[in-house]
Amino acid sequence: MRFEEKLPEEVREALSKGLLKRVPPTFLPFINQHLREWDYLFPYERQSVLRFLVYLAGLSEEECARLFRDVVQLEERMGVRHWPFSTSEQTIQNASLLARSPYYQEWRRAVQKVFDAVDEHARSTNAAGGSSGNRLVLLVIPRPLPLNAAKVWHKWQGIGRPVKLDLTLSSETASPSQALLGGITSAAGGLLDDALRRADAPSADTWVLDAGSSLVDYLLNRPPSGAHASSGAPAILLGYGRLAPFRESFSHEMNTMRKDLADADAVYDHLRKVDVTPWCPPEVAPEPRTREFLRSLYLSGNGALIYGNSFVEWAASEALRRARPRFLAAHFGVRSKPKPFTGVVLFENADKLNPLPAVDDLPGSAADAEMLALYVWLAATRNEEYLRSTVCLCLAESLSEAYVVAPVEFALGRETAPVPLDRLAASLREWIA
């Protein structure tokens, strides 16, 4: 089925009557790429694109001209029509041309104004979309990472409060985060099961991101139980360690093609088309949207190919932006120290280049995780959905402590005595139920 056939009737009709001819060239890569990749968009993204197109379709010629007036004027001053500017997709060259224009910042503001107008219209017509219900962002800095109790929450600047925990477990085979997500006892089920059991859960509403593989391995390998059963959409489970074949193959393609920066868009074009399915672990391979999410994650950089913690942070930020999930768990981990002479050659695999054994950088990984955990929460708060009815809990396993940012109605935020793990689990389960 072509994507046009899946669009609402009024949008299809508007597109067929030349809706996109009313849109300035610098908007077209965004729209065209989204329409072409329709099958791979998360429900929230589809709603956003539809909202935008429906709004445009409802405008008269004059209203449309007024909406885009500033952008059009700036494009004229920038000389966009003389640029080798792709209107079919977002390219590195497009980004570079825009960014070095002296009008770039003005253009960004003008573009934002257009999106603000669309959002305002959506709010006024109750078309803003998004799922209702409480949300949970669970951040885990696992036990091996050493943290300084006096400084660990400093960067959070008092937006929440630390809560002491008693992380004594009934089972010694599971870490606190594994127990929270998977269930303290195998029969009881955990947070993940509760998140998946919510009746109105759309797809891509539940994410678990792991900088290694232990957490995702644990969740995938739990013995079958009625508590784990869910009829809704499955959770998206992404483990950096489990994605090693994907990363290595992707890096290999990138490096073997990376002859000349002039070819960067050609490299990206190739990487957009290469079949990644054989590189995926079983929990990802049959899920086209998740495969494409990973592809775009690795194409957009920010360290996702290099470091597990960067992967978790960037994947979480992108998931929050694109899918607005109500449940997201981000589990950080350990990276190795850079190796002599090759550690800075970052686009290669240091282990391939240097046979010296990898050495864990625990303090460095802890510093990375502290900062990136905060970044995940800041990424969430850029979206209106997470400004209300959302609990953010950052679990510092080595300190038996959590930092909690939560609405007043979340009871755990007021505890003073150490909170046992089962009570913590119960509070969180109650929150998302």
Binding site: S96, R100, P338, F341, E348, A367, D368, M371, Y375, L378
Partner: protein, 408 residues
């Protein structure tokens, strides 16, 4: 990122004895005859029988150390001072410190560096496929005062730069008046890639063999492929330059820190000792590991830059070719994006925010009349005209203006 001193730390403060200890006269005659050494272009006049032309201008020297993107939050802020002990404790008390240095142009590496060097905001390709559009300080200095190429060098770690940073596309200027440009880190990358291709990755774990790998790459490379413009013939490396780089490699391989900036520093120091250029621009970029999201390694890069900038200053003070007649400037290209920005905070440097645009600059040495803090905002494009003034050139045609506090 390791931050201990190199094993041969003593070497860090000892200037080369004299020119003839490096190349004897008969060898130089032979090289000149063979066309491998372009006299008057390559060798600094001080070493090869200085002419009055080389003394043209102020007779002063300038060393500019440019760090990549660093935020004030991780440097000159109460929390950041622990990352810059040398800048804050050893150098600040004798420095002229510009508290607000603004990058109002494109906050990408090639354009930022090109803006510093030309005195105009450059808006060319981010990846160095196009040269700056207005003359660089190198061209201005060399053309106006007929200064040989050997007097102007860029030694850079940053892979976003190319040899086109050394000269502009401006009419009546261009590569003929450009600087020597060296990318030591590219050599390291090429050596690692050569070892991988050749199935010799085991060599990268053995310091003696690492040196051989580097030298093999140095001997065999097409220097244009490495992004270098050292001298006119890119496929032939002058023996003196080769020996300069080999010595830097030997120090590097023996040392404990093994980052790209360490090699950049060692090559810069060797260039100072062998060629003592009047204008040397050193560009560090270990901090750019931030693009890959490791905050700890980014902080490690800041600490490395802090230490290496200090060691450069120590070289200036210890080297008779520089002592007492050199001004050194230390500055970031720009900051980085603020925490919570849509551009992923410290990872990147493209937000139109104070955190990205406003940093600082430190000046040391001959042009500093007295230590002070200047709170007036100054701009990256003010550097080009200021460097021109310090070197004794007439003003550049630039949007930037000379910083009046720096006078020789």
């Amino acid at each position: 990122m390791e931050n201990t001193r190199p094993l041969d730390a003593q070497a860090g403060t000892q200037p080369a004895a004299d020119a003839d200890s490096v190349v004897d006269r008969s060898k130089r005659s032979f090289l000149r005859a063979a066309g491998l050494l372009v006299a008057g272009q390559l060798l600094p006049q001080a070493r090869a029988g200085k002419s009055s032309l080389a003394e043209a201008g102020s007779g002063q020297k300038v060393v500019v150390a440019i760090i990549g993107g660093v935020r004030r939050a991780e440097t000159f802020s109460p929390e950041g001072l622990e990352n810059i002990p040398h800048l804050a404790q050893d150098l600040l008390p004798k420095a002229l410190f510009y508290d607000r240095l603004r990058n109002e142009g494109v906050t990408a590496h090639f354009n930022a560096t090109a803006s510093i060097l030309t005195g105009n905001w450059q808006r060319v390709d981010d990846w160095g496929k196009l040269p700056p559009t207005t003359p660089t300080i190198f061209e201005h200095f060399r053309k106006q005062l007929r200064v040989p190429r050997s007097e102007t060098w860029v030694v850079a770690s940053n892979k976003a730069l190319t040899s086109l940073i050394g000269a502009s596309s401006a009419s009546d200027y261009g590569p003929e008046y450009g600087a020597n440009v060296v990318f030591p880190k590219q050599l390291m990358i090429a050596a690692a890639a050569d070892a991988l291709r050749g199935g010799r990755t085991g060599n990268m774990a053995d310091r003696a063999k690492v040196e051989a790998e580097f030298e093999s790459t140095l001997e065999g490379s097409n220097y244009e492929g490495l992004g270098w413009t050292v001298f006119d013939a890119a496929d032939r490396l002058d023996p003196r330059v080769r020996s300069t780089i080999k010595e830097a490699i030997a120090s590097f391989v023996r040392g404990v820190p093994t980052s790209g900036d360490e090699l950049t520093f060692l090559v810069s120091r060797e260039v100072m000792r062998k060629f003592s250029p009047r204008l040397l621009v050193v560009i560090f970029s270990d901090v750019e590991v931030a693009h890959f999201g490791s905050y700890a390694l980014h902080l490690g890069g800041i600490r490395t830059a802090d230490r290496l900038a200090y060691q450069l200053w120590q070289e200036v003070e210890a080297n008779p070719e520089y002592r007492g007649k050199t001004t050194m400037l230390i500055l970031p290209e720009f900051g980085r994006d603020p925490d919570g920005s849509t551009t992923n905070g410290f990872f990147n440097h493209r937000a139109n925010e104070e955190s990205t645009r406003t940093t600082w600059m430190m000046a040391l040495g001959a042009a500093v009349n007295r230590p002070q803090v200047i709170e007036r905002p100054v701009r990256h494009i003010d550097l080009g005209p200021t460097l021109a003034g310090l070197l004794g050139c007439s003003p550049m045609e630039a949007l930037g203006t000379r910083l009046v506090e720096l006078q020789v």
